[in-house]
Symmetry: C2
Subunit: 408 residues, 2 copies
Amino acid sequence: MAVFVYKFGGTSVDSVERIKAVAEKIKQARDQGDDIVAVVSAMSGETNRLTSLAKEMQQQQPIDREMDVLLSTGEQVTISLLSMALIDLGCPACSYTGGQVRILTDSMHTKARIREIDDKNIKADLGKGNVVVVAGFQGIDDKGNITTLGRGGSDTTAVALAVALKADECHIYTDVDGVYTTDPRVEPKARRLEKITFEEMLEMASLGSKVLQIRAVEFAGKYNVALRVLSSFKEGGGTLITYEESQMERALVSAIAFNRDEAKLTITGVPDLPGVASKILCPIADKNIEVDMIIQNIAADSTTDFTFTVHRNDYQKSKEVLKQVCRDLGAKQVTGDDSIVKISIVGVGMRSHAGIASNMFKVLADEGINIRMISTSEIKISVVVDEKYLELSVRALHEAFGLEKENV
Amino acid sequence: MAVFVYKFGGTSVDSVERIKAVAEKIKQARDQGDDIVAVVSAMSGETNRLTSLAKEMQQQQPIDREMDVLLSTGEQVTISLLSMALIDLGCPACSYTGGQVRILTDSMHTKARIREIDDKNIKADLGKGNVVVVAGFQGIDDKGNITTLGRGGSDTTAVALAVALKADECHIYTDVDGVYTTDPRVEPKARRLEKITFEEMLEMASLGSKVLQIRAVEFAGKYNVALRVLSSFKEGGGTLITYEESQMERALVSAIAFNRDEAKLTITGVPDLPGVASKILCPIADKNIEVDMIIQNIAADSTTDFTFTVHRNDYQKSKEVLKQVCRDLGAKQVTGDDSIVKISIVGVGMRSHAGIASNMFKVLADEGINIRMISTSEIKISVVVDEKYLELSVRALHEAFGLEKENV
């Protein structure tokens, strides 16, 4: 008898009908003899409703402890309704808040980290034949305060429970039916992947693919929990996220990711002295602006050009900061471009194969696409190109690396 | 420094504006140096919203444990919002769910009884200068299941906390500004009472006056917690409910209560044998019909007439049951009337004064009002009259017993 943790996000439980459909899905699995722990989010829209109530209540800064008390009611509503739906179908079930499980976290309200999960009560309930329905996103600290885990917290709850219960698989039910070789809205030939490695999934999440939260993937990878992404609304096996198997026939490139929200900034003619990079980036960080790619070239005249990318929303603010830095350092000038995109190829197969990067650059060159920046990691190559070339680049690379076919 | 428990019902917290007004009221009290524990209900309408979600979820009978998980979110939302409003006003505050306080109850979901309250955390918070905001209506059983206390549960929570904390007074803020000598909609001269005894309040509550739940009044009386009913929306001292003080100058009659929802049924010519009353009333009780007043007369011909009153909604059902009883007992016939009302005079002063009843009957007779039934207790006399005489009776009695003037 296998143990599965199923996680259903907000859109999967956003109405009475959908909660009933989720209950049917769980009942089918249980009828096959498996133990099921279901982790659920707040009904879609509920968190926004509660957040706007809280905003009306506070003129001053938000009060994190009370935000957690407020927001955690969202999942508590869902666990009770789903348990009712299950019991109504003749499937015994029992709901648990984060505190009732006991999902012990630190005391960092609104972004708490899980420290420990007590599996005693859940195991006892599974032993009695119950489906256990757990509120995602929430926990309790060692003083009994209600905490929440921040963005994507329900995925984290599901993975942490799968670890604690030594579950066979953790299923993340969402509104897409798996992980694709690239976004099907850009390349209609994009293909659902049967399998992907944790490392690839991590790179893709960090590159803007929003199927799973980075934190949950990291957690699953760390404890080697087989993670499966699949649709709440369509049948299908989804995509299994797991460790690389040596036997597995690997494609060189598994997927193409991209991010439209990029802008790049360059400061030229910076005196090439030690510590100059931190003098440029610290004032940016002080404004809470996150920097993505960073490139530095050494010029012939003992000055250097320094380029980095930021989120497009932070472009103007970054430019202002950088102009001051330019004056302070006696650099030449600040230039920038907020109509660029980042395109990345991802694949563990790259590790053992040379020539992938040059192949990528050639594909883009053949299409007349100018590469503005390059950045690489062991299993990823990212390039920055003009925004207008996004679709062309993605389709050309998808074709060139044969992603529409399985296991090349 | 005094300790007060303030309780605010659903209509007092049904919008952002009203919650802010409640926060202002609490802050004023705290600024005078008092310790305040605020008990709040769910925002008005929230319980209905959650209940109808639950109804949609369940075709079969309701699942009480999960109903409690669901409904308890209502107060949890209010405690967090009120705490935010207080902190935003610069008044330190901390919210508590029933489980966090630890309000330990039995495991009778949807109608649990409080067993024990742990005052440790609340006292520590008060000691730090915090206002403590507690979710009414909810508790936790010894296995950690969430329970709710049933109708009027928030009043009960407030009184129980006042007992546990040895509070100086428990204030019940509601949408009326106190307890009146009678309903001002019937007698505009009705006067707010400064004080009323627990016993009088209990009689009035059981007679249909809906200011306070019987259970909370009983609880307060049992533990001698001074209870004050006052308005959330208007200034004023409200009505203090307390034990009779011997020094206190007492009116003979404190108030006139009435109940419009009555119907009466009579079965005549019942053989006057032992056990006949239970043979009549058991079949009624078996149908879950509550019986209010009961009167039995012995007739000359060794048969008896038996009359009782029920809620008007149960009139037809009761009549059907009684017709069968009539056949079974070989009684004469069943008659009834569903256009009657009950009018009661209440007052601890009655105890030591004879002649109150005859005075009451004379007042009604002088107005040509026919009394259909009479029932008395130590501090109450109730009569049943035709519905059309309700207003006339109430005003005549209010005048005759001088209730528009203080302390006659």
